[in-house]
Symmetry: D2
Subunit: 141 residues, 4 copies
């Protein structure tokens, strides 16, 4: 199995278990070693009375893309810490895409940048720090 | 109306509009100038296959407490940027409490710390930065 | 040796080795378990042409206070990650005080908040995350 | 004057005023719209007794690269907030290079990523958030 196939197999296994991302209506679009793209449409129940999305849902989308990217090497990893800058508010019906890319891995640590966009406009910039916790996601053989 | 009453009135008005926090099953427990406490129970649809909560929902709880705290002065405020450190994973059925407290306000900016706990154990440490955007939440008269 | 004495002994040992903090003219004012206060006066060589201090020196002061606080338990610790919000610019001659206080420790990790002030005015808010790396600072016996 | 020339002129003007960066022995290597590279060699007076650099000096180098990058459009800008992850310790004599690149600009805000390396090894990952404060750095005519 090459690195791309391994990344996809890890993501499929995680996705099957990830009720939360599925319930939020996310779609895993693409995954590769150190990278992942996840999409989600803002729903009415993610917004306040003015139709603006609660920041928690924008964060959740970025966090899912981060999780698929940092687990793409078949080393089980968790989020240690994340930060997010909110650039543009989004509303009910907006289609969001979160693209996660690895910035650096060192020892058991990883740094991943996630950009959330809506039709090309930047919605949020997220940076996540991961840590491997031991164990594999799939049987590599 | 004194500062405490104003904080409560702002929170009630925001809460009535905040479908997202209500749909996530949050309860606004307490609000005062620069402070707010919000509770939420982790549900099955917030977890992955192992019953561990998706970080996005822990973030969303902290972010709601932050929003009520930074809007307690009746100056409409939004989140500019937030960071979160994940301390302990939580599972389906865990009762979470997020307590937000103002650290500093300067010009149009505010810094708020939110601690998320589960029966006294720290679950996450969140820091949010707000910015006033003009306008009031309630009519102060 | 009680916890306060141990914290002081750790700080004295670190201070003797810390040429950088001494060269920057810092004074260690106070140390206790999980807490430390360090002072520094802004010098001309820390400023740009307008007399405003370079952010790196405000950061350095906060980082030193953080280091003394997170090493106060006689478990050798290093900074993993830090963030700083700049609140008020400072100028040549300003007397800065950085007060570090532990927010939470868990496993090998610690979170410390440092407030930098100048005559009571907040200059910067810093949050540092530490990790123990094994080994003691002083012989506890 | 084209955008590259303007970026260089801004950097030269800032550099002439920036006693702090000069006193730390920094060299401005390169500047372009939204980008800057600054180098510095770790000196004995930047280290503790074990020869390891104080984090404040690594931060200061990254912060200078960030400042040149975010001021490259001739709109006077300041640092609002910065975060840094320390990857590898550095010692007396190490040659550090900080490369700043713009991630996103929106309204008066900018997000810049700075990677500090030593002979190709990553030393630190820094992210800075800037805000324009009005006024120009050079006369553009």
């Amino acid at each position: 199995m090459n690195a791309d196939e391994l990344a996809r197999r890890c993501a499929e296994t995680m996705w099957a278990d990830d009720a939360a991302s599925r319930e939020l209506g996310m779609q895993l679009r693409d995954v590769a070693p150190g990278r992942a793209t996840v999409a989600m449409t803002v729903r009415g129940d993610m917004t306040n009375g003015h139709g603006t999305a609660h920041g928690g849902f924008v964060f959740a989308l970025a966090d899912s893309a981060f999780a698929f990217a940092c687990n793409s090497y078949n080393e089980r990893s968790v989020a240690q810490a994340c930060d997010i800058v909110f650039v543009t508010p989004v509303v009910d019906g907006d289609r969001l895409v979160a693209a996660a890319a690895e910035r650096h891995r060192f020892g058991r640590n990883g740094i991943y940048d996630v950009q959330v966009t809506c039709e090309g406009r930047v919605v949020a910039e997220f940076r996540g720090r991961s840590r491997t916790v031991g164990g594999a996601i799939v049987d590599p053989d």
